[in-house]
């Protein structure tokens, strides 16, 4: 190749280089400011926003409304990175709505986030050691306390939570919100109940013409429950994720009755029920009941005069005190009884003999360190409510007045005039013996017993 040609090619490529070099590489700016400026701007914007509300902010934090309810939090942001906080989170039976101070920060990462950097109430939702269900072992309540700033809309601050990416809205709080928070407590207590509350929960819907019953399986810690239809063949079921208000409950997930979505359950102190009302007579009611949602015919095996063979069931303190079907009220009565015994004595068994060879039915109370006591009864049925009613026939010879007084509370439950619901359970405890539960129709007394 000639030198001239080489030059020519060189010049052409050089010319191309020249043309290219002066091309403006500046892209049309999508933003007026650079990324750092924008982030610092957002940080200031969020902080100003947080500080701007005189009575702070309120957030009902649903950490995962497919399995958990919501917890109401109030925040009052103060200068120098401090924040006052209150929540209606419940530990055990204690709902502490007091106000506590801690620190917060705006942290910069891929975007600006609000972080509650020192311990306060919101961290209770993020405690690996305190989970409301077995499925959430080591995950607490799935709570976050780092929230990514997403923007402001209609006066609400919108965040996304750090781990789960859920939206969380801060709405402006009022002075009323702060005084009202403590009023959530009686609502929480009413729904959770105590040992005297009836054992079963029902949801009853009214579509304007007929009522429908649902068994309501509610987890008080999770604030989440599922209502299963009790109508044969019906698969209807509703999940309910609760947050509390001074007047009742709000469910994030609605109950649909006749096309109406019901979410606001208002507490009715007269009946202790929570009622969500729609229009045209439509409503949904949450209530407690002593009657099991599904009553069985198992009691019939125990009736006398029906040709039933002898059957014996026994509560054995050593094995059945902690059974999940033993009610708190039963345990409470047993503890009271034991407290009235001398040192070293305690109730060891309550054995119930039905239709013995001598055609007797009696309750046999056994003790550690004390002679057994027998209470002879007769049995009859309430065929409508499906209960067996045990009626006093007399205490066995040798029973003292002190024994009768000692056993009165428990004995009154077993012989209450409305009778006992009896259910053969499907589970076993320690031994292979079938388990029966005997529940009072007039209180929250439920005893767990082996078939012996």
């Amino acid at each position: 190749m000639k030198v001239k040609k080489i030059y020519k090619y060189l010049m052409i490529s050089f010319g191309a280089l020249l043309l290219g070099s002066c091309t403006s590489t500046e892209v049309d700016a999508k933003f007026d400011e650079n990324a750092t400026d924008r982030l610092s701007g957002r940080k200031k914007e969020l902080n100003d926003l947080l500080l701007s509300s005189a009575d702070g902010w309120k957030a009902v934090y649903y950490t995962d409304s497919t399995q958990l309810g919501g917890w109401t939090h109030l925040f009052k942001f103060l200068p120098q990175g401090q924040v006052d906080m209150a929540s209606d989170f419940t530990i055990g039976t204690d709902t502490d709505t007091g106000i506590y101070r801690s620190q917060y920060e705006m942290q910069m990462g891929s975007t600006v986030s609000l972080v509650f950097t020192t311990q306060n109430r919101i961290h209770l939702l993020s405690d690996a050691g305190n989970s409301p269900t077995a499925a959430l072992l080591a995950k607490g309540y799935l709570g976050d306390f780092q929230f990514y700033y997403y923007g402001e809309k209609n006066g609400e601050i919108i965040f996304r939570t750090n781990r789960n990416g859920h939206f969380l809205r801060f709405v402006k709080a009022t002075a009323q919100d702060w005084t009202d928070l403590a009023k959530n407590k009686p609502m929480i207590t009413s729904l959770n109940g105590d040992m005297f509350s009836p054992l079963f929960r029902l949801m009853e819907t009214n579509d304007g013409t007929a009522t429908h019953q649902f068994e309501f399986d509610y987890n008080t810690k999770a604030r989440f429950g599922t209502a299963y239809s009790l109508e044969p063949g019906s698969q209807e079921a509703y999940d309910l994720a609760f947050a509390f208000t001074p007047t009742g409950i709000v469910s994030k997930l609605p109950v649909t009755v006749k096309g109406q979505e019901l979410t606001d359950f208002i507490y009715d102190s007269a009946t202790n029920n929570f009622v969500a009302k729609g229009t045209n007579g439509v409503s949904a009611t949450l209530k407690f009941t002593n009657a099991p949602p599904a009553v069985t015919d198992d009691y019939k095996l125990f009736l006398s005069g029906k040709g039933n063979p002898q059957i014996v069931v026994g509560y054995i303190a050593a094995n059945l005190t902690t059974a999940p079907t033993t009610s708190d009220y039963f345990r409470y009565l047993v503890n009271r009884l034991n407290a009235n015994l001398s040192a070293g004595q305690s109730l060891s068994r309550i054995q119930m003999y039905f239709n013995t060879a001598a055609n007797q039915t009696y309750i046999n109370y056994q003790f550690v360190g004390k002679t057994a006591v027998n209470h002879i009864v007769t049995s009859s049925e309430d065929p409508v409510n499906k209960t067996i009613i045990l009626t006093n026939l007399g205490w066995a010879t040798g029973t003292t007045a002190a024994d009768v007084a000692l056993l009165r509370e428990i004995d009154n439950e077993l012989t209450n005039s409305k009778g006992l619901y009896i259910k053969k359970e499907s589970f076993r405890i320690t031994y292979s013996n079938p388990i029966y539960t005997l529940a009072s129709a007039s209180s929250s007394f439920r005893m767990t017993a082996y078939q012996l």
Partner: protein, 285 residues
């Protein structure tokens, strides 16, 4: 003019043109926020007691980059931080400083302590008490639960630090891994947590966790001795019924003692006594 010359002139002017098109913005001051955050009394205390003398920082303010974001953890209670770090200072730093020399901890130490209030529960039901990462960072969990007046509680807490610090020492100077691995080679298991402690001891391990690997075994052996009085340690040995197992635990103890002497010129038993003295001091004051 020859064509070559024309080209040459064009080339020169072109280069000038190229240079003229380049204009760079000179860097100005930083965009980043370097303002010093407000220091609380606690921050100042940490500065005086850890940061200044030992170049160790203590993080009690939450920063998700310092912990496993998949875990449900939270910052410690504010009033628990100083008591916890006082325990760390007295039982760990002061004991090593007295026996190993005033500069010992200054030279070999984690540079960061991360404090977490709650329990670090694993989904298999086990609990992680502490973590040491790359010899730089030690994370302590359950700071909220520390009760300075309760010896068992303080011992468990300090066991975590002693354990993690042994790892850091090992990362600086390795122990005799070959000799160690020969002692109880078949006892190591990843499902260590299913074993009762008495079972593990009768296999020649001081704790069940020691059965995870020889490194955990070494750290557990050293930490258990450091957090037990001589009488308590003797009681542990006395509880081991299997003669081979007892001999193996003693052989491991000897390797630990040898390691401290050869690698750091530290009398391990003197260190143990000093740590016990300081533990008594913490509980009684």
């Amino acid at each position: 003019m020859k064509i070559a010359k024309i080209y040459k002139a064009a080339l020169m002017s072109g280069i000038l043109l190229l240079a003229s098109c380049a204009h760079e913005e000179q860097p100005k001051e930083s965009w980043l926020d370097f303002s010093v955050p407000n220091k609380t009394e606690l921050d100042k205390w940490i500065g005086v007691n850890f940061l200044d003398p030992y170049n160790i920082n203590v993080y009690y303010i939450w920063n998700q980059n310092l912990v496993d974001n998949n875990r449900y953890l939270y910052p410690p209670k504010g009033d628990k931080v100083q008591p916890a770090m006082e325990v760390v200072k007295k039982i760990w730093i002061d004991s090593y400083s007295t026996i190993g020399g005033a500069d010992f901890v200054k030279k070999i130490a984690p540079r960061e302590f991360v404090l977490v209030g709650g329990i670090n529960l694993n989904t298999n039901g086990t609990v992680t008490l502490g973590l040491a990462e790359a010899g730089q960072k030690v994370t302590l969990f359950q700071v909220d639960n520390l009760n300075k007046k309760n010896r068992a509680n303080v011992t468990q807490f300090i066991h975590t630090i002693q354990h993690e610090y042994v790892h850091i020492l090992n990362q600086t100077k390795p122990f005799d891994e070959q000799a160690w691995a020969k002692l109880t080679p078949t006892g190591y298991t990843t499902s260590w947590y299913t074993a009762a402690i008495a079972t593990s001891r009768n296999l020649g391990f001081i704790t069940s966790y020691a059965r995870l690997s020889i490194y955990e075994d070494f750290a557990e052996t050293a930490a258990t001795i450091l957090t037990s009085s001589k009488a308590e340690y003797d009681a542990i040995l006395a509880s081991v019924t299997d003669a081979t197992a007892k001999a193996n635990i003693k052989a491991k103890e000897a390797l630990v003692v040898k390691y401290y002497r050869d690698a750091f010129n530290i009398d391990f038993y003197a260190l143990r006594d000093e740590a016990q003295k300081n533990t008594d001091f913490v509980i009684n004051n």
